[in-house]
Symmetry: D5
C-alpha cells in the first residue's frame, strides 16, 4: 500500500553542530536501508528547499508510523501523509 | 527533469453530463498516451478525493506547461507544481 | 485498518429539491449498509454544521477510495482523510 | 456527551530529556486511567505524526476542560475541540 | 452548557428576493423565540459584516445541533462552534 | 460599546516558574477588578484550550486598548478584536 | 472614533450590467456624501485591485455598522474592520 | 519604479465562448502594446497554471492601477501586487 | 505616493529589558521625526494589539524601503505593504 | 530555464552579530558572482521587507537546488520556487 509523505526539515540553529551531523548521517543510513528493502520506494528533493516528497510501500498505516516515527530526524520534521491508491487511468501495474 | 504535480478536479454541477463524460474520456486517453511515452511517469489517486499526485519527466518547464495546459480537464483543475531533483540519500538511479 | 474521514457537505442551492432529497436518501441507505457490515465503524455529526467525522475500517486505501468515491453525495462533499494507527497508550484492543 | 479532540504535541528540543520522559510517562498513566473509566473513549495515533485523535465522553464542556488542562503534556500541545452529536444515519446506539 | 457560535450569512445573489425575505423573517421570529426561552442567551452583530456572535445555553451538543440545523437561514450560513466553560477568574455566577 | 476579544495565551516554557505564577496572579486580580467595574462584562474559557472569549463594555477603542495593553499577560497573548453592535433580532436591551 | 475598513468588491459576472452600473453610481454618491460629512475620512484604492482601504470617524460601532450595511454594494463586498486608536508616538492631534 | 504583479485568471465556465475569446484576444493585444512601450517589462507564464508573474515599470502606483484595472481580463483575475526596489547586492543597473 | 504599511511588533521575551527599552525610545524618536517631515503621514494603533497601520507619503518604493528597513524595531516587526492610489470616488485632494 | 524564487530571510536575534555579518557578506559575494555568470538573472528587494524576488536561469531543477542550498543564508531563509515558462503574449525573446 502506497503513502505519499512530505517531510519539511527544520533543524534549530542552536542544536550543536556535531549532534546535527550525527542525526543527518544516521538519517541517511536509515533512508538507504529502507530503500534497499523496497519500502521507501521513491525519494525526491524539493528543488531549493530542505524538504522531500517520498513514496512508501508498506503493509499498513501502522507500519508507516513505526518507520517514520523512528527516523533520526523525526523530532525536527513537519510531516504530512496522503494515502494513495490506483488511478483508473494508470497503465503501470505497480502504481497500485 | 521531474516535476510533482497535484491536480484537484472540480467539475461544476451544472456542466452538462454528456460534456463532462466526453472530457473525462478524452482526459483518460491523453493520460494513457503520455504514460506510454514515459512522460507521465507516475499517476496516483488520493484515496477518498477527486485528486491525484503525478510525476512528470519532461525536458523543461515549457514542455510541462504545454502538456498540462492542453489536458481536456485543465479548465476544471486546481494545479500545483513542485520541481523535484535528486535526493542525496537516494539509491535509485532514475529518481534524478 | 482505520481511517478518519471528515466530510463537509455543500449542496448547491440551485440543485433541484427532488434530486437533493433522492441523493440524501440514497446516501443514508448506503451509510447504514456500510455500518452494518462493520466497515463504517463510527459516524458522528459535528454539532451545528453539515459535516461529520467518520471512522472507516477497511483492508486498504484502495477499498477506502472505492467506498467514498461511490457515495451518492460524493460530488458535493469536501473530504479529508487521516490514516490512523494504534496509539501506544491505548488500552482498547480494537482501536488498532 | 462526545467531543472530538485533536492533540498535536510539540516538545521543545531544549527541554531536558529527563523532564520530557517524566512528562510522557505521566501522560501515559493518566491517559490509561481515563480510558479505564470510559471517559477517554477512543485514542488513535495519526500515522507518521506526533498527534492523535481522541473521543471523550464527558458530562459537560467543563469536565472536558478540567481533564484536558491537567494533562501532563498540556503545555506542549496544540488542541482543537469539535463537539459531536448523533448522526441521523447512525445505527450505533452509543455513538450519541 | 454554553456554546459560542459564529454565523456568517451568505445569501446567493440569484436567490429570489421574495424567498430571501421570507427566510430572513422566519429566522428573526425563530431567533426571538429562542431568546425568550433563555436558550439563545446573547446575539451580537459584527459591526460592518453580515455576521453575528451568539451564545447558546443548551443541555447538550445534540440540542445545539437540533436548534442550529433547523434555523431558516442554516443552508446559507458558515457556522463555527466553540464550547465554552467557566473561567477560573470569572466573578459572574451564570457565566458557567 | 461592546467588543469581543479572543485571547490565546502562550507562555514560553523557559520563562521562570515564579515569574509566570506572579503574572498569572496579577492577571487574575486585574480581570476581577475590571469585572467588578462592569467593564469586562463576560469572561469564558474555551474548553480544552488556554484561551478565552471576553466581552468588554468600554467608552471607546482607546479605552479598550488601554485596558488590554496593560494586562500583565499582554506580552504573551495573541489577541483578536471584533467590534460588536446591536443585532436587529435581539430582544435583550443591554446587548447593544 | 476611528475604524479602518477594507472592502474587496466582487460583482458576479452574471449580474445584469445595468444593475451593476446603477449600484456603482449609487455607491459613489453615498461615498461622497459621507466624505463631505467628515464621516468617511479617507478613501484609498489598492493599486491594481478592486479594493479599498477606508478610515471612518464615527461615534460608535453601531454607527459604523449602520453606514456600511446600507452601502449599495454591501451585498457584494468582503469587509474587514479594525478598530484604531491613538498611537503613543503620533504627533498629529486628530489621529485619535 | 518596479512592481511585481501576479495574475491568476479564472474565467467562469458559463461565460459564452465567443466573449471569452474576444477578451483573451484583446488582452493579448494590450499586453503586447504595453510591452512595446517598455511598461510591462517582463511577462512569464507559471508552468502548468493559468497564471503569470509580471514586472511593470511605471511612474507611480496610480499609473499601475490605471493600467491593470483596464485590462480586458481584469474582472476575471485575482491580482496581487508587490512593490520592488533595488537590492543592495544587485549588479544590474536597471533592476532599480 | 502613498503606501499603507501594517507593522506587527514581536519582541522576544529573552531580549534584555534595557535593549528593548532603548530600541522603543529610538523608534519613537524616528517615528516623530518622519511625521514632522510629512513622510509618515498617519500612524494609528490597532486597539488591543501591539500593531499599527501607517500611511507613508514617499517619492518611490525605494524611499519607502530605506525608511522602513532602518527603523530601530525593524528586525522585530512583521511588515506588510499595500501601494495605494487615488480612489475615483474620493473628494479629498491630497488622498492621491 | 527560468525559475522565480522568493526568499524571506529570518535571522534569529540570538545569532552572534559577527556570525550574522560574516554570513551576509558571504551571501552578497556569492549573489554577485552568480549574477555575473548570468545565472541569477534578476534580484529585487521587496520594499519594506527582508525578502527578495529572484529569477534564476539554470539548466535544470538540480542546478537550481545546488545553487540555492549552498547559499550562506540558506539555513535562515524560507524559500518558495515557481517554475516559469514563456508566456504566449510575450514579445521578449529571452523571457523564455
Amino acid at each position: 500500500m502506497l503513502f505519499q509523505v512530505q517531510m519539511d526539515v527544520r533543524i534549530p540553529h542552536d542544536l550543536p553542530e556535531t549532534k546535527a551531523e550525527a542525526l543527518k548521517k544516521a538519517e541517511r543510513a536509515r533512508a538507504q536501508e529502507l530503500q534497499e528493502q523496497g519500502i521507501w520506494r521513491h525519494l525526491w528533493r524539493h528543488a531549493g528547499r530542505y524538504a522531500n516528497t517520498s513514496i512508501f510501500d508498506v503493509a499498513s498505516s501502522q507500519d508507516l508510523h513505526d518507520l517514520l516515527s523512528t527516523l533520526p530526524l523525526f523530532p525536527f520534521m513537519d510531516i504530512s501523509v496522503t494515502p494513495l491508491c490506483r488511478h483508473p487511468s494508470s497503465i503501470r501495474d505497480d502504481d497500485r
